[in-house]
Structure formats: C-alpha cells, structure tokens
Symmetry: C2
C-alpha cells in the first residue's frame, strides 16, 4: 500500500499519527502533505523514520502515485479542517481510499460519500466503532498468550510507541508477538482494531476483550496499546476499562521525564511514580493480577544521553523495575523482564 | 403521572428499576406487570413501598388506567425481550407513553416507532445520552456543594437506594440536598440525568461533571448515584469515570452482606472490604481526595434484625467507618458522618 499522509502545518511535532505511521507501519510513504514545509523531506526533521518528500497537497502528486490518503493529524475535538477538503477531494477523484481517525466521520460527509461512490473508493473512519460490541464476559485471561499492557502517568507519554517497540523487539528476539491497537494511530498502523475511546462506556472492557480473544490463541505475546491514565480527570474511564478488559499479566509504566502535572489539567499534580505502581497493581490484582515489570521513560526533552541515562536509572529505582527509553536506548534493555 | 411497571418473571428480586420507582418516584403506580405473580400485590412481596396490584399484562388494565408504561427490568446486556412486545404494543395503542432504560432503543424499533407516531405517544429511551456531551474539564471540584458519591463492592449492592435514602434523610434533617442520577433507575425516578453507562467512553467523566456543574452551586449537598464497581471485569470503566468526573469529597461504600464473588462473574472473588476502602481512596486521592466516611450494607438476605445488626457492626469495623442498612435501619445512623 502506497500512502500519502496529510499533516498540514503540524509536521512533525503536532502530527503524532503521521509520525507513528512513518515509524511503524508497513506502508510505503509516497509523500507527507504539509503546505508549510513543502519542498523538504521527512528525514530533514526526523532522521530515524521512513523518509518521504513533503509536498503542498495531493495535486502535486502523480495521479497513480498513491493508493490511500491517511489523515495524519487530529486537532483538539477531532474536527475536520475545511482547508483539507481539496486534498480529500483530489484523492477520491483519482481513486484513492481515504483513512481518517477524526471524530468527524468522512463517510458521513455528503460530498466525500458521493465522490467515494463515483470513484469506487473506500472512506474508512477508524474512530467509528463496530456495531456489534458488547459487555465484557471476563474471559480475556483465558487466552494462551501472555498479555502485556502499557499504562501511563498521563496521556501522550509514549504508550503507543512503547507498545510498538516492545512488539518489534520481541519478534526480533524470535517470539511470536502481536499488537492489540486501541487508538487511532495504532489502528492506522496495524490496519485493524477497536477505537476504545469512542465505544459506549459500558462496552469499554468488552471492546478490548473481543480483540484479546480474537488474537490470544494465535500468538505467544500480545502487546496491548494502553490509553490515558488511571488518575486523569477526564480519561481514566478508558484506562480502567482497558486494564480490566485486557486482563494483562504484565504492565509497562510509561512516563515523560520531568513531567509534574497532568497535561492540559495543570492543577492536578502527578502522584509520585511509586504511587502509580501501587495504583495500577492494586487495581489489577482482583481481576488479572498484572504487575509492573518494566518502565518506559520518554527522555526526548533531555539533551544529552548521559542525562537521559541518569533519568532512566532514577526512574527504574522509583518503580523498582528495569527501565529504558525505547526510542533513545531501544526496547531490548527491558525485554527480558517481559518475555521469558 | 399514573404508571404501569413491566417486571415480567422478575418481581421483586430481579426488578431493581421497578422497585426503585415504587420506593422513590412521585408517580402513582397503577399496576406492576408480572405474568408469574399476577393476582397478588406489590405489598405481598415488599411491604415498605407503594402498593399496587400485579397483573398479567397491559391487556388486563382499563384503557385509561395509566398514562405511561415503564420498563422496570433490565436483562444482562439490556436487550428487549420479545415476550414483552404485546405489552408495549397494547400500551402504545391505548395512547400510553413508554419509558425504557434498555440498551435496545424502543424509538428505533420500527413497529413501536410507527405505533407511537400513529397514537401520538412518546417513546423515551432514558439510556440514550444527549448529543452534546464532551470530555471533562476537571472542574467538578469547584462547585459550592459537598459531593457525596456511593461506590460499591459490585453492581447491584444498593448504590442507587443508598443515594436516595441519604438525600431524603439529609433533606429531612433540614439540609438542601439533590440527587445526581447516573443510571436508568435514578433517571426514571428523578426525571432527568445522563445515562453514564451509555455515553462515549471518552466522555464518561465529562457527562457526570456536566451534571455536577449544573446543580452544584444550588445545593449544599449533592448525592451522586454511583455505578458498577472499581474491580468489576466488565463495568469498572464507568465506575472510574464517575469517581473522577464527580470529584467527590466523601464516599459511601455499599455492599451486600455475605456476598463473596462478582455477580455473574463468579470466578472473580470480591477483595476484602478494607481493600475496597484503600482502592477507592487511593484512586480518588490525586483527583479529589474523596474518603470513605460511611458504609451501607444490604442485609435483606439476613432473617433477623439481630443478625443484621451484627453484620452491620462487623462491616463498620472492617471499613473503619459508621455503617447501617439504609432500608432496614434507616440512613440516620450514618448521616452525621456525611452532613455536618
């Protein structure tokens, strides 16, 4: 699959989905669309991901250059930005599918629906949950696979990245591992998955369980993409549903080095790291007994590797488990705590 | 409003909503529908609630005997039982509104929608959330009112009942108290509220917060109807969202005397009571610092008052807070731990 990734005015720092796809997906990236950085290349900004030219818009690409346009950014609220309409229109008119993780569903947009029908292309809204979800039966713990869930001290602390890096490292070490995607970026990368933050709240655990049951007997390890944070004033429900629905055997605690308050809710201080370990473990204990076996620290704000290494060591001591920065130092350092 | 309450084969023990309405709502109950107990009366089974005859179905009632049919039971999964179709049909044909808390929305049932339109009646699905919900802003803690949330060791342990009894007792003691309804029964009783278990999971906390903010400066005490249980394999997401979205100052822990496993999920043993206290308090601590200040024990399975009294005393010791059975012994025993 050859994709173009829309990231207007946001690449790379504000384009988490675009970066995730460039880093982890098996797609061939033909271009990133960012009208502010057109003429440069992905690797000019981010060296360690798949490279691609950055262009102004779909009109700058050859008609058959791509099969699919991915919307690689998500504004707060998940609305569609009307300045992207030309690109989506051009994509559909040249026969490309369009994949979006916005709250605004492209398939419900009259013009896009018509163009997709006329040109025989698919509009895939990955944040639209399937209709057949239900309450959990409490059976995720019965699958053969060892289930490893990433949990965090806040949103946006690297749970998706850690999940992907651990799964890759496990596979490279010869294990049979799969990712259970629970959010838009994970779903775009893997090409399947339930958008847990959009399901009916009663079905939160059930929507995760369904995926665990589907994949759990085909692999030795399932790496579940966590969401939110268990003490987040807005998003803890999703976190709790994933913790109990996936019934993890092992947890990996993700944290941004130096972060002291919930992002966007600054009056809520982060508890200390040990408190997070106790909270996640005591909440998991009656359901699946998951334990924090490793930590993933995002040290991208620290300039030197020496500072990052020191921060990782301090973090490992705080949570009493091996830790790493999966991007800076690799996931291998913690892998043996997870796969046996 | 004169209501008939459908509770086929489930009255009274399996008809939580029916009982709640009979006990707390201001409606006149013209009949309970239960084909298994037809011919008897509500007070034959439950002496301390509004009495009404029990009949086989809507066809046994005079055409103008009721204004509204309430669906007073909810099977696991919230499906509509096809054996109830005749009653709903008869109700609509005789001009009655139908109010339902099922996951299955009656307004989307083709036959019911047609009959409602033809007979100018309303199909009100109280579990259908409003369209304008959003993520929590983390502001419920800023309201003037003291917020009291009921939490539980499982579903169906008396959270709704305890909420209603505490609010009534507070009002009788001269305080200005209001109930924040979060589930189908509470919403049916109060006539307003957000069905938290049906909102988009990302909006769980936000849907509670919205109600707290709406009522919080008009009353001295808000009694929030809790849902589920924080270690429930299926429903903990909703519990967690309410705990953080309502930002309670005080928590009341509800439990069924003698219960040892999660109902319907029997392989999951209930943790001991002290563990629940620690879990709810430690999870609340970083967000609103709510503390368990009282306990509500449902002793309806214990025959003698002496046994019930002993069980309540043991429970109070376990949770290290005053406790009562709000139905058997009244809420007054614990009121002074809650209102000051």
């Amino acid at each position: 699959m050859r994709v173009a990734i829309l990231a207007h005015e946001k690449f790379p720092a504000g384009a988490k989905t675009a970066l995730g796809v460039l880093r982890y997906a098996d797609y061939e990236a033909a271009a990133v669309l960012d009208r502010e950085s057109a003429g440069r290349r992905v690797n000019d900004f981010v060296p360690d991901v798949q490279d691609a030219p950055i262009v102004k818009g779909m009109a700058d690409l050859e008609a058959d250059a791509v099969d699919t346009l991915l919307i690689g950014i998500s504004p707060i609220g998940g609305e569609f930005d009307e300045s992207w309409r030309d690109d989506v229109r051009t994509a559909l008119e040249s026969g490309c599918d369009v994949v979006s993780g916005l709250h605004y569903f492209l398939a419900e947009d009259e013009e896009f629906a018509r163009l997709a029908a006329e040109n025989d292309c698919e509009l895939r809204d990955v944040r639209k949950p399937p209709e057949d979800l239900s309450v959990a039966e409490g059976v995720a713990g019965e699958v053969d696979a060892e289930v490893v869930l990433t949990v965090g001290t806040d949103c946006s602390v690297g749970k998706m990245t850690t999940t992907m890096e651990l799964a890759r490292a496990a596979e490279e070490a010869g294990h049979d591992a799969a990712v259970i995607p629970t959010g838009q970026t994970g779903i775009m990368i893997e090409g399947w998955g339930n958008p847990i933050d959009r399901v009916v709240s009663d079905f939160t655990a059930g929507a995760v369980e369904e995926m665990i049951v589907e994949k759990g007997d085909d692999h030795d390890y399932l790496f579940v993409e966590g969401q939110g944070c268990i003490v987040h004033p807005a998003y803890s429900a999703v976190t709790c549903g994933i913790l109990h629905g996936s019934m993890p055997d092992k947890l990996v605690l993700c944290h941004n080095a130096g972060q002291e308050a919930i992002h966007g809710y600054e009056s809520f201080a982060l508890p200390d790291r040990r408190t997070y370990v106790d909270l996640y473990e005591s909440l998991s204990a009656p359901v699946s007994g998951g334990e924090i076996v490793a930590g993933a620290l995002n040290t991208s704000d620290l300039e030197t590797d020496a500072d990052a290494r020191a921060a990782v060591e301090e973090y490992a001591t705080e949570i009493d488990a091996p830790a790493t920065d999966v991007i800076r130092f690799g996931a291998e350092d913690v892998l043996e705590a997870i796969v046996e």
